[in-house]
Amino acid sequence: MNFVRDALAWIVDPTNLHGPESWPMHLLQHLGYSLLAVAIASAIAVPLGYFVGHTGRGRNLAVGLSGAARALPSLGLVTLFGLWIGVGLGAPMIALVLLAVPSVLAGAYSGIEAVNPATVDAARAQGMTEWQVLAQVEAPLGFPLLLGGLRSAMLQVVSTATLAAYVGAGGLGRDLFLGLKTQDYPQMLAASLLVLTLAVALELAFELTERLLQHRQTTPDPREIP
């Protein structure tokens, strides 16, 4: 357990706490990359997933793609784009987006599909246009499943963003790889603990959001009931 003590000492060491290459900066970078990647993936996958879910078109393709993507090795994607585009942030970002898209896509289309068809028919019978059905009925009701998709995408991205440092981008992976190169175990362990803490914190944030949503769905605001 000496390693753990040394790692904690590394974390609180003032020389590692300040400056552009300090771990708090790397942590922020790591979080920033991850949020950006999931945001880009959502901008691509949510409209696509809603289209698949609403029309039922291309469903087999979407299911097949999400399944096949699981076999794609993330390190392979990171190095592939690293060679292709060159070192920097661009390469890992493309890889991270590619890894996040299938989960978000699956969450988006399964959320729409899970909506009770009777509810959708009722909305149509009330004279809602297809856009209104999607935006006001299907999207809100399918949101919990979309959130689940975003959650697993986020988890995968935070984990893979550690590899971004391998092709020259920043993030907590930098501390990890530096420790790996110099056989500095306390630094490796410290960086690992920080990545782990970030991942668990994000998981808890999603869990909390899901609980809040569930709570809202089962107990409607009394003011909303006429």
Partner: protein
């Protein structure tokens, strides 16, 4: 293509090394997950905790785990058992969740019928619940197998030989074909293992054959 032609031996060797870590990890995670899932279906209060805990395990990024684990279990970083242990942990986490759902879905009917026929807990589990949950267990195992194959590649960063070595080597030496070969080979190994598990399911769960044909 030329790179692949000149390095077929290397790719074959690395594929075997890859499998030598994947197979034990998949098998061990299945073996460890079954009793825990059984416990989770029996012992209600423990269920939420067990499933949530396995979710948290999956939140651990792989590279840090590969680095931290040897300090905890006393192997060296480059030991392949270190990699197997880490992968088992991930597979276990995934498998506990799907096995619990699968065993749950068996329902009380068959369980009570078996009880009424005088089956003890163990016999009931092995001869009634396990086969009935078979298709769900197989589905879970297939997910574990595919994601394990893909995760093994990360171990190359520690210097453990696997198909991931084609990524690190290709990146360092700037050989795009090598990295591409690595990705293709990894996906291929994953598909092969998946097909193998499907075939195994076809053999072991013969009653699912007809249903599938009827459904599609």
């Amino acid at each position: 293509m030329r790179w692949l032609g000149e390095n077929l031996g290397l790719v074959g060797r690395l594929s075997l090394a890859h499998l030598s870590m994947t197979l034990p990890a998949v098998a061990l995670s299945f073996l460890f997950a079954l009793p825990v899932a059984w416990l989770a279906t029996r012992w209600r209060p423990g269920r939420a905790g067990l499933v949530a805990l396995s979710g948290l395990v999956y939140a651990i990024p792989s590279l840090p785990l590969f680095v931290v684990l040897p300090m905890l279990i006393g192997t060296t970083v480059r030991d392949r058992w270190n990699v197997i242990a880490a992968l088992t942990l991930y597979g276990f986490a995934l498998m506990v969740r799907s096995a619990t759902d699968g065993l749950d879905a068996v329902g009380d009917g068959p369980r009570l019928s078996a009880m009424a026929m005088g089956y003890g807990a163990l016999r009931r589990f092995v001869t009634v619940e396990l086969p009935l949950a078979g298709p769900a267990l197989l589905a879970g195992l297939r997910v574990v197998a595919v994601s394990t194959v893909s995760l093994v590649t990360v171990s190359a960063l520690l210097g453990v030989a696997s198909l991931g070595q084609l990524f690190t080597d290709g990146f360092q030496r700037g050989i795009l074909a090598e990295v591409l070969t690595g990705i293709l080979a990894t996906v291929l190994v994953a598909w092969l293992l998946d097909a193998l598990l499907q075939a195994l399911g076809w053999l072991l769960l013969p009653w699912t054959r007809r249903q599938k044909g009827a459904a599609t």
